[in-house]
């Protein structure tokens, strides 16, 4: 023990060196976009592999709960199919492309929940067709939007990140507002820009509006939890998120086949 202390005293400048050099690299990464993107990509590949192993164990232990959620989702989907079948009746469906959206599965290998700027990492990347700005949903509702992808992993910016913004609407009357997160509980988000004349009640369901090219219309987001009236013309609405990020493992990434076309068209209109 004394030997160790002596060694530390003799070489304490090496510790100072490591400390200062680490600090320099942290500053470098935080403030220079180019170096940052390279570091983050390399880091994502390494940590992704590690986290995937750890998450595999955690996932195994939570199989029971996951199963239950999946069964519930199955039931909901089956009900929906039946309802749609009835609606369609005998009408002939135009065959060809099934829809503008394609869903493919991914698993969350790492997530943060208790920070102001949370991020998720999923185990699908460029090679599997994931790209920036694709939507991500879970069995209980929307999860987030893909931020950046490396070859085999992607970073997702979830609803519970203070930078997250999404256009959503009240399901029953189609009033559109902006979904954001204020950094409090990971189960509660807020909905802004709903005007006073809109009819909002506790328990109303909130779904995606489909105005952005990221999510199709009508995906479940959450339920209204609290409605506050303050000065100004808009309500302050708190939403109980459908997705419980703590129990989230399996997600779907949404690829919108027409996204590029829509983005291009909207960009040309702005000019």
């Amino acid at each position: 023990m004394r030997g160790l202390l002596l060694l530390l005293r003799k070489y304490n400048y090496v510790l100072v060196f490591i400390l200062l050099e680490t600090l320099a690299i942290i500053m470098l990464s935080n403030n220079n976009r180019y170096q940052h993107s390279i570091l983050v990509n390399a880091n994502r590949e390494i940590t992704g592999t590690l986290f995937e192993a750890v998450e595999g164990a955690r996932e195994y232990m939570n199989l029971g709960a996951t199963n239950k959620i999946l069964v519930e989702e199955n039931t909901r989907l089956r009900n929906r199919i039946r309802a749609l079948d009835e609606q369609l009746g005998d009408t002939v469906v135009n065959s060809g492309q099934v829809g503008d959206y394609f869903f493919f599965p991914a698993e969350i290998v790492h997530s943060t929940l208790y920070k102001q700027f949370n991020y998720l990492t999923i185990n699908k990347g460029r090679r599997q067709g994931v790209a920036s700005d694709m939507g991500v949903i879970g069995p209980q509702g929307i999860v987030g939007i893909v931020l950046e992808s490396s070859d085999n992993y992607s970073t997702v910016i979830p609803v519970i990140n203070r930078d997250f913004r999404l256009s959503v609407k009240i399901s029953k009357n189609n009033f559109v507002g902006i979904l954001s997160w204020e950094g409090m509980s990971h189960r509660v988000a807020s909905l802004n820009e709903i005007p006073f004349h809109a009819d909002v009640a506790i328990g109303d369901s909130i779904v995606t509006s489909g105005y952005s090219a990221v999510f199709p219309e009508g995906l479940f987001v959450g339920n209204v939890k609290e409605v506050e009236q303050q000065e100004g013309n808009f309500y302050i609405i708190r939403i109980q998120l459908g997705t419980d990020f703590q129990k989230l493992f399996h997600v779907n990434v949404i690829n919108n086949f027409n996204r590029e076309e829509q983005v291009e068209l909207e960009a040309s209109l702005k000019q």
Binding site: Y13, E21, A24, I25, N31
Partner: protein, 168 residues
Amino acid sequence: MIRLLARNIIRFIILILVQVLLLDNVLLGGYLNPYFYVLFILLMPFETPRWLLLVAGFLLGLSIDLFTNTLGMHTAAAVLMAFMRPWVLSMFAPRDGYEPETYPRIHYYGFGWFAGYAAILTFMHHLVLFYVEVFHFQYFFTTLLRVILSTALTTSTIILSQFFIFRK
């Protein structure tokens, strides 16, 4: 002691100002930029404790970074340079060591000694700086050429300054 400290602090400030106000606007042949400010680390007294060297290098690099908006780049390079200085000094040490009351300058240890000492440390600094700036090894030799040319330029500026300004 106080006088030594004051001299170093004034030198620190002057070198940073010269670097960011004057030399950063000088670009020779497209990408040659002398980083004269490393002279501060070269001129610190022999007895400076290693941790102080590192902290001084850190502050020096950080100050330059703040002006050039490249936070971290010069800091990483200057800290590494400060870390290597004691080894380079012992590598170049005369047979009976460095005498007290002397400083690492041409005046005390001669032209050859100072040129070697300055060139090696400047090279290390530039090596880190330029590779961190490019941040991959794709253009390895182009970057290496830039390192070598800039080292030559910085070192000759430093040596010239020894004859004109920092004589003692």
